[in-house]
Symmetry: C2
DNA sequence: TCTGCCCGGATTGTTAACAATACAACCTCG
DNA sequence: CGAGGTTGTATTGTTAACAATCCGGGCAGA
């Protein structure tokens, strides 16, 4: 896993930094800074930014540059809508053909979620909450569906970050647990409905407060990400 | 609609040529040829090719170039699987909230499909068959879902082209009509099942014959596409 | 004839210099 | 004191030249 192209390293680290909320929405992503952070020329950087733009994690303004996206409220709603459509299908697919590994990976994830909540690590909790949904997608063994959901989940993280989810939580973990129970029971309709309700609940938690996010230290954050990746 | 960036024009026309099957799977997409077809430098071309690569319509081989993709059989199956997951959700969403325009657009599309079949225009029929599904996605008024499905449908066209669909048809139009009926009746489960069956039928029509496609005249085909676009 | 090798041509990948644009600070004028 | 224009600087966008790589054909040798 060493000799991956620089382009992909930039793409992956930056993406990771964004969904990990170390680069808050609105942060300017300056080509030069990224370029010499990764000790490369601007070419690979532009490639990565373009791709992040495609995925909706970054907004590219002509002649102005790239900024980590701040999805407007409509987009947030559409995101949840699309997730309901897709994840409903995922749930049904899983009931139809239960994965050979069983539901163990899901349970492990919820446990981790609970731990994060217990430790008060909001960001980790949100991340794990997303992972839960992602793992479900991966259990279908359909890489295309998994990729689509990965994109949706990443953007959802941004949307939630911008439109301050009220109260605190990401997914209530007990809804996740309930989902697992229904899956175990093979209750297709119940599981599908639970997923739908769950996503609706998340969407309902959106608020219309426009976050006045601050935008610091791109270089530091990306550099740190690199360090930990090296280790 | 004139001053769109050259990048996007290249992207759009090439994409169109691929899903319109004027550029058969396997065709080499040479940067220089595209570049002077569009009277530009290689920069925009590379951008467009990279994007088409992301979407799975083009395969990029390092130091070899870009080729219109030939999705292997597994990928084809995954494509249909993902479509079942997503389109099931779309159907349910439409039943839940019937579109203000009604089902007119869908009916118009099926009519066009029938005409194409009557005229023996296989390619147009396949295209319209895809459009039918796309229109459904658009009726949900969820641009994100629509975009996702657009990608899936395009790749499906390639998959079908490669793995020679037996008999002839793309979608049997009567299945499309039946779907409309069920939607009109507001029969959620019926419509969802019909969609699922429909997609399964399409997938079942895949065959394992590796097409020995010919690969001609990139320049001509793209040039022609430009002409008609200009007119 | 077939195999292996090397070379020429063509194509992709990268880079460094240049052009274009936008933002910010300043400066003038009413 | 404020509005409007102007210049300077920083950043992005583009291009042309260069480097790296791959494919095909020719050639020598078994």
């Amino acid at each position: 896993m060493a000799e991956v192209d620089v382009k992909h390293r930039i793409f992956a680290t930056t993406r990771e930094a964004i969904v990990g909320r170390r680069l808050p929405p609105g942060t300017k992503l300056t080509e030069d800074i990224i370029a010499d952070t990764f000790a490369c020329k601007r070419g690979p950087v532009r490639w990565a930014l373009a791709r992040l733009g495609d995925e909706g994690l970054v907004t590219l303004v002509p002649h102005r540059g790239a900024f980590v996206a701040e999805p407007p409220l409509d987009e947030a709603k559409h995101l949840f809508g699309a997730r309901r459509m897709l994840e409903g299908g995922i749930v049904r697919c899983l009931c139809d053909a239960p994965p050979p590994q069983g539901w163990r990976p899901l349970m492990a994830c919820v446990d981790a979620e609970d731990r994060a909540h217990a430790e008060g690590d909001e960001t980790a909790a949100l991340r794990l909450s997303g992972d839960f949904h992602l793992i479900m997608a991966e259990l279908t063994e359909n890489p295309i569906a998994a990729t689509m959901l990965r994109e949706l989940v990443s953007r959802t993280v941004l949307a939630i970050t911008v439109h301050q989810h009220r109260g605190s939580s990401g997914c209530r973990t007990h809804e996740h647990r309930r989902l697992i129970e229904l899956l175990e029971a093979g209750d297709v309709e119940g599981a599908a409905r639970e997923m739908d309700d769950h996503l609706r609940a998340l969407e309902g938690g959106l608020d219309l407060s426009p976050r006045p996010r601050s935008g610091p230290s791109l270089r530091a954050v990306l550099g740190a990400a690199l360090e930990t990746a090296r280790a």
